[in-house]
């Protein structure tokens, strides 16, 4: 087990390193941040001075090395816009995004798993069809549009929920649904497929033949086996969702990390954008790493691959 974890960890670190390099060089190509920094009324000389002050005239690899070294110590530089350390800026906003991500994945699991199980027990039943429809619709629904429609209906028409913001738990209901719905179809399909497979296996037939009750068969034996890949999928989806929260946060004006990323891109605030790309990548890397370890732990055959 340990060699597997170490190998997998090494890979994760290498991926993280590569992503950080790609995102740094990508934004480096965006040209000169000095003009953005200087603001509306700066002259050409002001900009030159800033360029030297911040060291933008040095070679890219030197700048990257410095950035990475600092980033490893949790120092992502200073935001061009707020003139505050990026790390402190991201801190509070990340908790909003994390809350949203956890709520979203919980919502997705709580709806997708029961639906998938029922759909598998009764294939082609009305519930199976509803589940299928929900999953097909979910994949086709533009999340920004779904969010707007929810705002109009539940925020304004019915007035049940606050249309945006993040001050109370009620503010998180609609964003949770939109973000969760994004992850739901894949989880549901996998649950259904896994359940179908397990239910048709010899193992379950044996359990049934031994006279185990149907409920016991379903939950003790079948679901427990079918859920393993679902959990690892959920972890991967969680990584994706955090990256996708940028759209949801901007629709609901949630001041999270995704929203900050969008605003920072528009403001040319490179240190913030670089840090956020790296952090979102890290989330994905960490979650997939955890999923792999979990899988390997539950299913020893995986360790060899």
């Amino acid at each position: 087990m340990l060699p597997f974890i170490l190998k997998r960890l090494g890979l994760a670190l290498l991926v993280a390193f590569t992503v950080s390099f790609i995102s740094f060089s990508l934004l480096f190509l965006s040209g000169d941040p000095a003009a953005a920094l200087a603001g509306e009324t700066a002259s050409g000389e002001d900009i030159d001075a800033l360029r030297r002050l911040y060291g933008f005239d040095r070679p890219m690899l030197v700048q990257y090395g410095e950035w990475l070294w600092n980033a490893l110590r949790g120092d992502f530089g200073e935001s061009y816009y707020f003139k505050l350390p990026v790390a402190s800026l991201i801190g509070d906003r990340l908790s909003v995004t994390m809350t949203l991500g956890v709520c979203g994945i919980t919502f997705a699991l709580l709806t997708a798993v029961p639906l998938g199980v029922v759909a598998a027990i009764r294939p082609n039943s009305i519930i199976d069809r509803i589940a299928l429809f929900l999953s097909v619709a979910g994949q086709a629904m533009p999340s920004f549009w779904f969010g707007l429609i929810l705002i109009v209906v539940f925020g304004i028409q019915l007035g049940w929920l606050p249309p945006s913001g993040a001050s109370t738990w009620r503010h998180f209901i609609m964003p949770t649904i939109v973000l969760g719905y994004y992850a739901m179809p894949a989880i549901m399909r996998l649950t259904r497929a896994g359940m179908l497979e397990v239910l048709n296996s010899d193992y379950i037939r044996t359990a049934r033949a031994k006279g185990a009750g149907e409920g016991r068969v379903l939950f003790k034996h079948a679901l427990r086996n079918a859920i393993i890949p679902v959990v690892s999928l959920a972890a991967v989806q969680m990584g994706f969702m955090l990256g996708g929260s940028i759209v949801v946060e901007s629709v609901f004006a949630l001041h999270g990390a995704g929203y900050l990323a969008w605003e920072s891109i528009a403001r040319n605030d490179l240190p913030t954008v670089q840090a956020l790309i790296l952090i979102f990548s890290m989330f994905y890397i960490i979650f997939t790493f955890l999923a792999d370890v979990l899988n390997a732990w539950l299913d020893p055959r995986m360790r060899s691959s």
Partner: protein, 300 residues
């Protein structure tokens, strides 16, 4: 699913259906596939015939006729779906918007398809170091937050059709690579590949004539799904203001422009959103359907 019985069962019993017949029968019996195919074909025709079908020029503005309501909300047939914030005919913009969405979807899927397939097949066929490198690249790509990276790149290069297509094409190859790698691995172990290699066929030849024909079904399925993915992403980018630029009639952009008046004229958001939803739904149903009919045993 009850497929309509077209041939005499007795006759079929004797001659046995050809693979093509089986396929045709499966297609006819698959409502999702038929619906998806129908809608996509319809929209392709609409896109091609846009200049004929559109009642007005989608770019001509009339500032005195801004946000005229659609006919079902008390408007007139002059503008069946109303007009936008600059007095441009909404229906005409929707019709031309189909061109933008389909073009972006198709070309982005093509670019990413070429990249992803090349990587996937290479990894699956050669294995070893090549496989390790490709797998690593897939991991790197998956770890990059797509929306965020796409937004940043579009912000740097400026939003235009070409840039958006390019960015999406360069970002969405992961699923191609994953699926093509797995498919190639499967096919590679079959006898006819070994046979071809044994008689000294060159590597490109083996890949092109022995591997590719056997994984092309899977490829088509991924193409459709990624096309839908690209269309949705373009809409999201345009919605966030960093996609296709005005006055190009993109559906995502239309939602974004209508959003300002969402509280007072919600139809401005509703109409392009519904059309976008239907197109993506249809493409997905088509993709799922194709998977079902080409490989029914893999149905999930």
């Amino acid at each position: 699913m009850a497929a309509p019985q077209t041939t005499d069962p007795l006759l079929e019993e004797i001659s046995g259906p050809t693979p093509r017949q089986i396929l045709r029968k499966r297609v006819r019996g698959h409502t999702g596939l038929l619906f998806g195919l129908g809608v996509v074909l319809l929209l392709v025709i609409v896109a091609i015939l846009a200049p004929v079908l559109a009642p007005h020029d989608p770019y001509v503005q009339d500032l005195t006729k801004r946000m005229v309501k659609p006919v079902f909300m008390g408007g007139t047939w002059e503008h069946p779906l109303g007009t936008d914030h600059l007095g441009r005919d909404y229906l005409s913009r929707l019709i031309y918007g189909a061109r933008v969405s389909l073009l972006i979807g198709a070309v982005a899927a093509l670019i990413s398809g070429i990249i992803g397939t090349a990587m996937g097949v290479a990894a699956g066929y050669f294995g070893g170091k090549v496989d390790a490198v490709v797998t690593f690249l897939i991991n790197v790509r998956l770890a990059m937050p797509v929306v965020l990276v796409a937004l940043a790149v579009v912000a740097i290069l400026g939003g235009s059709l070409e840039v958006v297509i390019g960015v999406l094409g360069l970002l969405l190859w992961d699923r191609f690579a994953v699926v093509m790698r797995a498919s190639t691995l499967q096919v590679r172990r079959r006898e006819y590949v070994a046979a071809a290699q044994a008689i000294g066929a060159s590597t490109p030849r083996v890949i092109l004539s022995e591997i590719m024909p056997n994984i092309v079904n899977n490829l088509i399925v991924i193409v459709t799904l990624e096309m839908a993915h690209a269309i949705l992403l373009e809409a999201a980018l345009s919605f966030l203001g960093l996609g296709v630029q005005p006055p190009t009639p993109s559906w995502g952009l239309m939602v974004s422009e209508g959003k300002n008046m969402m509280l007072f004229e919600p139809w401005l958001v509703l109409i392009p959103g519904v059309v976008l939803f239907i197109l993506v739904l249809a493409i997905n149903l088509m993709g799922d359907g194709l998977r079902d009919v080409t490989a029914p045993e893999n149905r999930s």
